[in-house]
Each structure stands twice: as structure tokens, then as C-alpha cells.
Amino acid sequence: MLRQASRLISRSVTAASSKSVTARAFSTELPSTIDSTFVESWKKVAPNMDPPRTPSSFMKPRPSTASSIPTKLTVNFVLPYASELSGKEVDMVIIPATTGQMGVLPGHVPTIAELKPGIMSVHEGTDIKKYFVSSGFAFLHANSVADIIAVEAVPLENIDASQVQKGLVEFTQKLASASTDLEKAEAQIGVEVHSAMNAALSG
């Protein structure tokens, strides 16, 4: 059974390479994402068989990080129904991460941040644009690209202060009278979101 393995592996590799565009590159040059420690230990155990390809060797190499820190941050801010900012070059964004307001400058360390309901501000020169974000994630890459995804993001002017107050009172009451864990969690979420909106409108 094992004698067939190398034939099967090389057959499946050639079948894949004849279909994919990267095939020509692969046959003449070694992709940089081959794990050399794996290949060495494979050769020790099974010197007569070609090492199998691992998923990482199929990946394109990651975009290289510039050696000097770029001057601008490229922001992609997307919502499920619209692309709010696409490839926009800005000086800084401040995102409402669960760990607090996080300022992102060009050259920020790669981070994945979960967002909490709060204000996201985009700073471009003297121009500051603020959005209230309901929740989402921010992916900060090594090449100073920030991908921010939110389910709902609205400019602060579109929020109705009286409804926020009403909602805050309503959910604070619900929190006090909640019985099951789920009801408490829902009421707690309501209180958090409305307090965040309140703070956003007054701050």
C-alpha cells in the first residue's frame, strides 16, 4: 500500500498543477512557504518518498511588510449591506475595542480586536468622521491596512436621543426584574448598548 503512495501523491500534484495558474511557478521554483523542518524529519523517516505538500505550501506568500513604516493607514470599513470606506488612506482611526478605545496608527502591531458598541473615529488631517458601531471586528495587518467590519454603523447625527433615554430606562427596569439567565443577558446587552449610545451623544 505504501509503495503506491508516492505515485498517488505525485499524480494528484500533477493533476492539481495542470489546472492551477500557479502550476508553472511551482514546477520551476520552490514556493517560500514550505516548512523545512517538516521536510527534513520526513526525509529521515521515509527517504524514498517525496514529502506530501502541506496546506501552507499552497498559500501565496503573505504580502511583505514595508521595511519603513508607511505614512498613512489604509482603512477598509465594511458593513453587511455597504462598503463605507474602501482603501481610504487616513492618519489614524480610533476603534471601540472590548479592551477600551484603541488608537491605530500606521505601523500598528498586527492585531485582531473584537469591537464593543461605541464610537469609531476616522482622522484624516484635521477632518474627523465619527460613526457609532454596534459591534464587529477590526483586523490590523502588518502592512498598515486596517479591515474593520461592523454589523451596523451610523453617523452620530442619525441617532435619536429621546429614544436612547427611553430604551435605557426600559432595559434598566428589565434588568432589575429579569429572572432567567437569558433574560438577564438580554437586558444587560440593552443597558450596555443604550449607555454607549448615550455616552456617544453627550461626549
Binding site: 449591506y81 458598541p117 457609532f132 454596534s134 459591534s135 464587529g136 454589523v151 451596523e152 451610523v154 447625527e157 442619525n158 441617532i159 435619536d160 429614544q163 436612547v164 430604551g167 439567565d181 437569558l182 438577564k184 443577558a185 438580554e186 444587560q188 446587552i189 440593552g190 448598548v193 443604550h194 449610545m197
Partner: protein, 73 residues
């Protein structure tokens, strides 16, 4: 074994992240000023029919629809 990571309160209550995120988004939408509120409610309307299958046949479908009822006239 006690869990080492501190879980958020909603996960401790059995809610998933998607449910939490959707609740937050709905609450924000409800607090919008008028033309934006109507637009967002319109955007979020769903219409689907779901039927479970048993013995190779679909059972009674469950219809979830936010579309207004259309009369025959």
C-alpha cells in the same frame, strides 16, 4: 476542570456571538431618527420558508415573512 478563559456574560448565559451581535444591531436600529429608521427596517426584512423532512417527504413548512400580505384584488 474549571474554564481558564473569562467568558463574556452573554456566552455564559448560553448566547452565541452572532445572536449578541444581532441584538446589538437591532437595538441601534431602533434608536435611529425617522428616515434612517424606516430605511434600515426595510433593509432587514426577511422572507423564508423552512420545512423539515421526514421519510423522504417535506413536513409542514414554517413561513417567516416580513413582507406585507398581498391581496388578490
Amino acid at each position: 476542570m474549571a474554564s481558564s478563559a473569562a467568558v463574556p456574560f452573554w456566552r455564559a448565559a448560553g448566547m452565541t456571538y452572532i445572536t449578541y451581535s444581532n441584538i446589538c444591531a437591532n437595538l441601534v436600529r431602533k434608536c435611529l431618527k425617522e428616515p434612517f429608521k424606516a430605511e434600515s427596517m426595510n433593509r432587514e426584512k426577511v422572507h423564508f420558508s423552512l420545512s423539515k423532512w421526514a421519510d423522504g417527504k417535506p413536513q409542514k413548512p414554517v413561513l417567516r415573512s416580513d413582507a406585507p400580505e398581498v391581496s388578490d384584488f
